[in-house]
């Protein structure tokens, strides 16, 4: 593709949905993001002025704009996902494992997985109901008691240190998309689209980060290295917008599907820069893009590491809401993804270089 063939504005169409499918079907558990990194590099390389892989494995790309006084804007999306790491070979194709990142042990038993770079199929085995007692079924299952079973034939291809993820293939469900690792392949796909259609009024610094799910580790060093004027983090926030079982009003939904991009005011790791929150809200209202304010409270994004770097970096996060994040299959609305891209792109076009770094008095 040559630059002259590029469409003017970024968009989410059939090609971008196919890309999201490719991204979500890839395995990229924290600390072993190589598979995703190679896809990202393949797509970023032709579109940017500079790209490098840093010591932790972050992909850092720069796409310079034109004109005087351009702000250096860092956009961040994390490449890693929650999953498992093989810890011990029990022979006969059985492997012990630990969770990586916030995977909830309650839903692991009985789930199919892909192991290692070759996506060796396996299953987190569980005891069939025929053989369990009523008492056993009441007890929580510990990770120690679970094994990944890949069968004796493939056992020699798996070794301790290999990562594993849920074996869930991407599916389109009418207006929705279902996949594993929508957190944060939605952000990665959005950022790839923005990098390949970068606005000219800014220097776009893109960080495709590693190790977010184990404590925002990649983003901190990425922000240190790129030293931007401000940062926008693209992530996926869990939506718990289900009707309550007793008919009472749901007051703890975090975000809702179909209500547009979720703008962060505060989570456990970051108090968003109020100027950036205002800029996003005003941009959305001016452009008629639906948006929601994510419920303040827990959770954290790469912004938590970015905003504290160096002498401080004004930061905000925008998420595509998705139900059931960190489980084998999450669901998001295509419309929310489209509106997230539209909002961030419009917000970038509206940025100027004034006053982000240091306010002189």
């Amino acid at each position: 593709m040559t630059p002259t063939n590029l469409p003017k504005n970024p968009k989410i169409g059939a090609a971008q949905i196919r890309l999201l499918e490719r991204l979500t079907n890839a395995c990229s558990v924290s600390g072993d993001e190589g598979e995703l990194r190679s896809i990202v590099l393949e797509l970023v390389r032709p579109a940017v002025d500079e790209v490098r892989v840093d010591a932790l494995g972050n992909v850092l790309a720069t796409k310079r704009g034109q004109g005087e006084g351009r702000p250096k804007v860092l956009l961040v999306a994390h490449m890693d996902e929650v999953g498992f790491i093989i810890t011990h070979d029990d022979n006969e194709g059985f492997f012990r494992f630990e969770t990586v990142g916030g995977a909830d042990v309650r839903y692991l038993a009985g789930k199919p997985v892909w192991v290692g770079k070759e996506h060796i199929p396996g299953i987190i085995g569980s005891k069939p109901i025929h053989l369990t007692t009523w008492e056993e079924r009441r007890q929580p299952i510990s990770v120690d008691s679970l094994r990944i079973d890949v069968g004796p034939g493939n056992g020699s291809k798996v070794k301790p240190g290999d990562r594993a993820t849920f074996a869930t293939s991407f599916t389109r469900l009418g207006p929705s998309l279902r996949a594993k690792a929508l957190d944060d392949r939605l952000g990665v796909a959005t950022l790839l689209e923005l990098v390949t259609h970068a606005p000219q009024n800014i220097d776009l610094l893109a960080a495709f980060t590693v190790q977010e799910e184990v404590g925002l580790r990649g983003a901190g060093v990425a922000a240190y290295a790129l030293d931007p004027d401000l940062a926008i983090v693209l992530d996926s926030t869990p939506a718990h917008d289900l009707p309550s079982w007793d008919g009472s009003e749901n007051t703890r939904y975090d975000a809702r599907l179909g209500a547009g991009p979720a703008i962060y005011v505060a989570d456990r790791a970051t108090l968003s820069d109020p100027r950036l929150v205002r800029h996003l809200v005003e941009t959305a209202e001016k452009a008629g893009i639906p948006y929601q304010i994510r419920q303040p409270g827990g959770g954290g994004t790469d912004a938590g590491a970015v905003h504290r770097q160096r002498a401080g970096i004004p930061s905000v996060s925008v998420s595509v809401p998705a139900r059931y994040n960190h489980t084998p299959a999450a669901i998001c609305r295509l419309s929310d993804w489209k509106n997230t891209l539209a909002l961030v792109y419009a917000a970038l076009l509206g940025l100027d270089g004034k006053g982000w770094k240091v306010e002189g008095v």
Binding site: E249, T251, A266, L271, V277, I293, A311, G312, V358, V361
Partner: protein, 331 residues
């Protein structure tokens, strides 16, 4: 100085929303300093003096922010649900009043329980006098602070947000009284301390100081059946030896103690089991910085009625002036 304290504590500035405080402090100190700037996170940084050959680059930090509440949901009957900004304690909330940064007042209510019961935040709500979601004057993401007037009891002063407006007042008063200094003094009025020392961390990176000193409040052990702690009100400012997040550089403790003794000022030594201050963030900035902390003893911290002793406050200013007027030799 009491009028300054009153103005500071009656201004609202929860973590991340310190702009009113910043304007107020800026107006107070502008004529007293050589250089002023606001960094990217909102810290107000004022320089006074230039480092002479025997002087150092010193960072002094008192945080402008206070604990507060942030709206998570407005329900169909117009009640606002909330979560906390910083270490708010549930037992201090019911019946309290809060002021939203965009103006409206609210009352904190609790769901009904037939038995005496320690409620959680999830069972509380803010009543803004609205009848429906539509006429509620606040939205998800709106921020509020406690609303209480300043009470002058003579020796003892009571207000919300003595933590850490009293530290801010001490730094402002120090600037007023300081005649000369051999150092480049960076007075930092920091942001976002209550959510994890975030402002002091970036300010310290920007300043890259040789020495750091925080001024903040500390707990006391002098109330009925209180926590076991040596520090009490009225016995002088406290030189911090350790808290939950920092071991003070012993050379800095020595310097502070020596200076207090020489100036014949009362002081106490502070060992705090929990909590931390901006000094912790300064200490581990870049390649490491020697730090100390001067604490103002304070009862009922993180309640809407925090109490300090005015004599301790005045002696803290005197000690700060004595500390900063002379060259520092860390033994």
């Amino acid at each position: 100085m009491k009028e300054l304290i009153r103005t500071l504590v009656e201004t609202h500035g929860p973590s991340g929303y310190e702009s009113k405080l910043r304007e107020l402090v800026r107006a107070e100190i502008e004529p007293l300093v050589d250089e002023l700037r606001v960094d990217a996170l909102g810290n107000l940084i004022a320089r006074k003096g230039q480092a002479s050959p025997e002087g150092k680059q010193v960072m002094l930090s008192a945080h402008m922010d206070e604990i507060g509440l942030i709206v998570t949901h407005v329900d169909e009957n117009g009640f606002a649900r909330f979560t906390t900004l910083g270490g708010v304690r549930a037992q201090n909330l019911p019946g309290g009043r809060v002021r939203f940064m965009r103006g409206p007042m609210g009352v904190i209510g609790v769901q009904y329980h037939s038995e005496p019961y320690a409620s959680s935040f999830e069972e509380m709500f803010i009543d803004l006098g609205a009848k429906t979601r539509k006429d509620c004057p606040v939205q998800v993401g709106d921020v509020a602070a406690f609303d209480r007037p300043f009470t002058n009891m003579g020796e003892r002063l009571v207000a919300k947000s003595m933590d850490d407006r009293i530290g801010v007042a001490v730094l402002v008063e120090t600037l007023r009284q300081l005649q000369s200094t051999p150092h480049a003094l960076y007075f930092v009025f920091s942001v976002q301390e209550e959510v994890g020392l975030r402002g002091a961390r970036t300010a310290a990176f920007g300043i890259d100081p040789d020495l750091g000193l925080a001024v903040d409040v500390t707990g006391t052990g002098d109330t009925p059946k209180g926590v076991k702690m040596e520090v009490g009100l009225g016995k002088g400012p406290a030189v911090k030896v350790r808290d939950g997040g920092m071991l003070t550089d012993p050379r800095v403790v020595d310097w502070m103690v020596r200076t207090a003794q020489k100036a014949r000022l009362p002081y106490q030594l502070e060992i705090l089991e929990y909590g931390s201050t901006d000094a912790r963030a300064i200490q581990v900035s870049r390649a490491g910085v020697p730090v100390g902390c001067l604490s103002i003893p304070c009862r009922y911290i993180h309640s809407p009625s925090e109490m300090v002793d005015f004599g301790d406050v005045q002696n803290a200013v005197r000690l700060m002036v004595a500390l900063l007027s002379e060259p520092v030799t860390l033994g």
